[in-house]
């Protein structure tokens, strides 16, 4: 995360959703990356979303310590504590020491490259109807509905819906690759 987003704190504390959106857009990726060590033991997506919601709730009480990325560092601590708490709740064994280690410094995160966005939109536009519709349903639901519900609404079986999602991301990755964009190998998995 290159830009220090603490200039947004006052606006976020005053309930400015646009400022919080801007913070989320930059903080999400490095915050998710900070949870990688917990990926096999807790559901990091749930932890991540909960940590972001708590940042919104506590922003008005946030006190800067004079170092950059203060709100982000707080988010990393909240996410880590939530993950450890969840791990303790669901496991009888002690939490491994490597998971109790201090949070890492903010990692590099660049906003999406405008050229990548242009190519991606072109690739997205060229998707076949059903994969495009399945992906669109996921995005439109904003994480509020499970895939079973989205599949039912599209009059698809769950497996067919999931196959269309898989096909959409693999086609997008193939198209990006064809345009010389390096893609995450997971998109082709």
């Amino acid at each position: 995360m290159n830009e220090d987003l603490d200039f947004l704190v006052i606006a976020i504390a005053q309930g400015d959703v646009h400022a919080f959106s801007r913070w989320l857009a930059s903080a999400e990726a490095p915050l998710r990356a900070s949870l990688v060590r917990f990926a096999t033991v807790v559901d990091t997506e749930a932890v991540l979303q909960e940590a972001m919601l708590r940042i919104w709730s506590v922003a008005s009480r946030f006190e800067p310590d004079g170092r950059p990325h203060g709100l982000f560092r707080l988010a990393v601590r909240i996410a880590r504590n939530l993950a450890i708490s969840e791990l303790r709740r669901t496991r009888a064994t002690p939490v491994p020491s490597e998971m109790l280690a201090e949070e890492p410094e903010p990692t590099a995160w660049a906003p999406p490259d405008p050229m990548l966005q242009k190519v991606l939109r072109k690739c997205h536009e060229a998707l076949p109807d059903k994969p495009k519709a399945a992906l669109g349903a996921r995005l439109a639901s904003q994480g509020a509905e499970p895939d079973e519900v989205l599949a039912h609404r599209m009059q698809m079986r769950l497996n067919t819906f999931l196959q269309n999602i898989t096909r959409a991301r693999r086609l997008l990755a193939g198209c990006l690759s064809k345009h010389g964009v390096q893609v995450d190998p997971e998109l082709l998995s």
Binding site: V17, F20, S21, L24, A25, E28, A29, R32, A33, V36, A39, T40, V41, V42, D43, T44, E45, A46, L48, Q49, E50, M52, L53, W56, S57, E86, P111, P112, Q117, L120, R121, A126, P128, R138, L139, S141, Q142, G143, A144, E145, P146, D147, L158, N159, L162, T166, R169, R170, L171, L172, G174, C175, S177, K178, V183, D184, E186, L187, L188, S189
Partner: protein, 81 residues
């Protein structure tokens, strides 16, 4: 448009589960956001795959979104309390 060739892969029995867990959907319990119900059914390998896939998907989603927001960010914004 002619679709580019997609490299072949060996299907994994956990594929449908990984695909669902990699989504941003998480049930909202009264006090907090809960784990995806299927997450508990995944092996450690499947959980790691879901994490990596979610990371990659969110970048794509953010790049497609006019405000640069992924489905995770959108889910959070829809649940502000």
């Amino acid at each position: 448009m002619t679709q580019p060739p997609i490299p072949p892969r060996t299907p994994d029995p956990e594929d449908p589960l990984v695909e669902q867990v990699a989504s941003a959907y998480r049930p909202m319990h009264p006090a907090r956001i809960a784990a995806h119900p299927i997450w508990h059914d995944l092996s450690a390998h499947g959980r790691a795959r879901a994490f990596e896939l979610a990371t990659a998907l969110r970048k794509v989603e953010a790049a497609l979104d006019p405000e640069g927001l992924s489905s995770t960010a959108r889910a959070v914004l829809s649940r502000l309390r």
